[in-house]
Amino acid sequence: MNGLAYLGVALAVCLAAFGSAIGQGIATRGAMDGIARQPEASGDIRTTLILALAFMEALTLFSFVIAILLWTKI
């Protein structure tokens, strides 16, 4: 039974990282397209991008915290 719990810990972080990596990739691609087309708007785009990335990053980190909590319960 413990083995499955370890699997859960690993899967929690891995799946969350998978999803947010894809999301961040798409967001960064959009931002880069925007900067390439309109270099004068790069300042605005950069701050918005950092904010958006932080929101996505947070989801992975929530699952990381849950994984650590789960690990201490095993």
Binding site: N2, Y6, G43, D44, T47, I50, L51, A54, E57, A58, L61, F62, F64, V65, I68, W71, T72, I74
Partner: protein, 227 residues
Amino acid sequence: MGLENLQHLLEHVRPTVLFHIGEIPITTTVFNTWIVMLILFPTAYLVSRRLQARPRGMQNLLELLADFFNGLLEDNMGKEGRKFLPLVGTLFLFILFLNLSWFIPDMKPPTTDLSTTAAFAVVTIVLVQLIGIKKRGLKGYIKHFFQPSPFLFPLNLIEELVKPVSLALRLFANMFGEKTVVAALFLLFPLLLPLPVMILGVIMGLIQALVFSLLTVVYISTFIQGH
């Protein structure tokens, strides 16, 4: 086996009680925050004591920072945004120094403790709500919960309640994660292997401080202008 490894790992991150003042236990978190304050306050005082029209050295750096945040505040809420510069700048500098205190040997950065980040988040959010009440009046503030339509009241309420939680957890989990990964790599193979992640930690510390102050600006500006 697993639990022992984890305990060993978390020893690098968990705050420990150093000494007691009366009945109050003083943990490494509090003590390290004092150390960072001792570094930060004299530095800020020395840099800003003799301001010159033609800046030199550290003054350049601070003016760059102030200019950046001024621009950000004015973009988000116009001329009146400038008065929030002290709040946002202090949050940025303090969190940056707390994050980077990791690189003082044998130091647990205070931001790896949820208590520190929760304190930051609660202070920020209470202030944001107070600014909202002051700007819109109590009636307007309550009304904004029912804004697009009354059915959305639960959603609006949850949004306001989740703000501090996500602020605190984001900063905490980022720094805690960095530190844990480095500790794990250190257990595997101590020579040079943790170094790339530690370099990432420098960038992370900067970005997280920036994100915290950016989010503060965004939360304030939702109350200054419409939703």
